[in-house]
Amino acid sequence: MNWRRRLPGWLLAALVALPVLLFIFWPIAAVLGRGFVVTGPMPEWRLHEATQQALALLPEVRREAALARWSVPRNPQEEVEALATAFRLAGVTPPWDLAAPFEAQREAAAGARAALPAAARARLEAALPLAAVMRHRRVALAFQVRDQLSPEAFEALRTGEEWRIGLDHYRAPFDDPHLRRAALNSLGFALFACLVTTPIAFALAFAVHRGGVRWPGLLRAVTLLPLVAPPVLVASAIIMLFGRRGLVTDALLEKGLGLIDADETNIYGIAGVLLAQVLSFVPAAFIVLDNTLRRQDGRVEEAAGILGASRAQTFREVTLPLAVPGLKRAVVLVFILSLTDFGNPLLLAGRDVPVIAAVIYDEMTAFRNTGLASALCVLLLAPGLALHLALERIGRRKRYDTGAGAGTAPEAALPRAWRGGLGALALLVAGAILAVYATVVAGAFTVEWGVAWRPTFAHFAAAGTGYGSSERGVAVVWDTLWVAALAAPLGGTLGVALAFVIERIRPPGREVLAFLALLPAVLPGLIFGIGYILAFNLPFGLESLALTGTGAVLVLNILFGNMFVAVLAARASLQRMDPAIEEAAEGLGAGLLRRLAEVTLPLLRGALLLGTLYVFVDGMTTLSSVIFLVSGDHKLASVAIFNHAGSGDFGQAAAKSVVILAWAGVAMAGIWWLEQRGGRRLAGLR
């Protein structure tokens, strides 16, 4: 093979692979590693070892003198503590009450010391000077041998703390009762969410594809609407409707009808979280099942019908078994979404009902305990993976190919009762989703929800005043817009380039590249956010390379976190496209760049637009991965909305949500317009 011919391709491959390794692999690997790093007080035996090593560094004369000086206790407390340590070093458990006042301990210790058998007594006396130094004079010792120690060893000796590799963080959820409770809560919510959401989503998809509702297109559009939703939209709306100052509970049922006392109602807690999660995750499950049913061959159901099966029998024997692979995927998807959701539990249950995802958020933001947060992130992957593997083992693994008739729905109408039930469910879900959006829009124009119902535009003021004023006002949305607008075309382009490299240049390890590009889609956003902190706080130990606290880290995180859509779309296009087209161009003398520009890229235009749009919309609305990356100078609207909602400032949250929705709408319309323009030329490829 002519290397000159291959060289441009390899260069492009390297150019694309490098950022993927740097901005996807490295952060995730950092999280995986960080969970094993434990910092904390050294156990006594380690402390003893370190002290002994440091003492050995002193010249013998000085060592004797220092030991003689240091082993004289300065007060009863030091005397007792040194004795207790020496007892343990001698292999004897101190036989007195270590919690008693020091004076009392001192007498008891003296007695115990005298009562020891001769051999143990000798060991005790030998260990005592060292015990005194290691308990109380380590700092002095450290400074005496500072020049001979590495900076890390000096720090460790001085503070008595060190880092080591350990499973402590991974064991925490099993040992710590609070974390254990959080883990059980997380699993409970996740199980409930997937068991309730999946059947609802399946019923909706069935209604759309089997004539269960009169306007299937409308139902699909409304059900998919929350995919373009600012964070905690559903939770906010639930509080605004059913909270203690809620429109339904307070304004309607209490003040309007006098039926209840709104202060007695409580949407906060488990029920509220469950409601919010189900409503939030129906769209994702619906996408999966919509695709599943779309691919089913309706003729198979007709075949069952003409062979004498009733509608219910057909459903049980044909439709449902065929949908099992899709149902499994939807169950796992919702399970993972619920496990990693911290917005809904934090807003609707607070710290009363802890869940692991919220604990991770707290450990990162409040305690800076990145080690525990990293370990919990990794642990959070386990139940989803386990569920996936378990479901794969149940039943046959085959993804059924329903052949040539795919995509044709049976013509026969569903029985009236079925249509009634499905119609009612569709009305309920679509109504709830529309109510969520209507509530938030109304909230954006209300002076103070639940208190002052007068209309206002005040929440749309550019800059805000008062509590948390740096996040108030819609100016923060413009910052977000810039970040998203910068990340979107870069992400779309890089994704398409990566797909081209994977499909056409085919370097070794291309499957690894493809897997890495998909990782952010499968992993919880929390991991990706924490990974960016770990990887880019002090990259290669160089402070000048630090990205955290800059706007760039937000752009990079959003770009690489959502690039996978462009990769998937472009790979699909390239797989449909005959490579001979490019070979023809090459045969006619076009180099790699010309081929890309004139032949390949025009065909990938749809993938590029879709990938760009996805990065943009998700960049405007994403919360979980960027919440740890915002800083004083660089804020994002989604994080601001989350904070507003958390402090009950729904006017501000709603106004920003409305602006974000408007921009997402503009972006989608723009992309649609661009697609229409290029439509005729590419029509043959669809």
Partner: protein, 322 residues
Amino acid sequence: MDGVSLAVGAGEFVTLLGASGCGKTTLLRIAAGFTAPDGGRVAIDGADATAAAPAARGMGFVFQSYALFPTKTAAENIGFALRVAGRPRAESAARVREVAAMVAILPLLDRYPHELSGGQQQRVALARAIAPAPRMLLLDEPLAALDARIRHRLRDEIRALTDRLGMTALYVTHDQEEALAISDRVVVMRDGRIEQEAAPADLYLRPASRFVAEFVGQATLLEAEIVQGVPQALGIAWPLAAARADGPCLMVLRPEELAADPDGPLRGIVESARFLGAMLRVGLVLPCGTRIAADLPARHLRPAPGEALALRPIAAPALVPR
């Protein structure tokens, strides 16, 4: 679908033939009960069945896409109707083996559809349709997705099977050769109407319209005129098949209706000669510029392009209205 009326007699094998979109599949689906007609009625054995559910019509249906249940084995597919009807297990197992033997898939009963070839899948689909012993079999382009050799073999087997079971069949295809080979009667459809309804030989030899003449078999259409009862075309008089009134018409000249003859009246220059095995298909350009095609026995003479050749009519071509 416009004003279509079709009757299928007991034991008859009728084929609906037409290009895609002509309404043949819709007509079949109306007969099966999958599609509800906007108007008109469906009667079975004289009783109105327009509103009857598909299962109540006693028909078996074979789909172009096979529509096998992917999650069930071949045996479970074939036995589905019997199980749904609540037949005893032993009885339905015996019936499954009986029909599986008819379509020669006995060794494949434990396989899942995706473990079968296309031809085998269609045999399973056929067995599934006949297992409940329907009065009539409806087949919607059952062979369209198969390759030519299997298509020919399965086509003959389907016909043999319906003959053996004395089963009425309504068969949809766009392949005119298949329609001619398999049917008692062929119904040519066009734009939702029936263009002609006839036995295969009649359809071929006596097409009722220009459309049928062009759709069924190979033909050169020539402008002709009947003068005093004799067809005149290309300046010569042609043999007459059936008496016809004087006036202009179209002549449907089939390639096999011409033979080489040094003294033949149709003289021209050979433009192309394609060797087809038994036949040599010759394209001849006449002095007037008209091109005609003729099939000549390939064994004897092989005129090369550019040579002169003379042909003679040896059969009476069909005549259709202009």
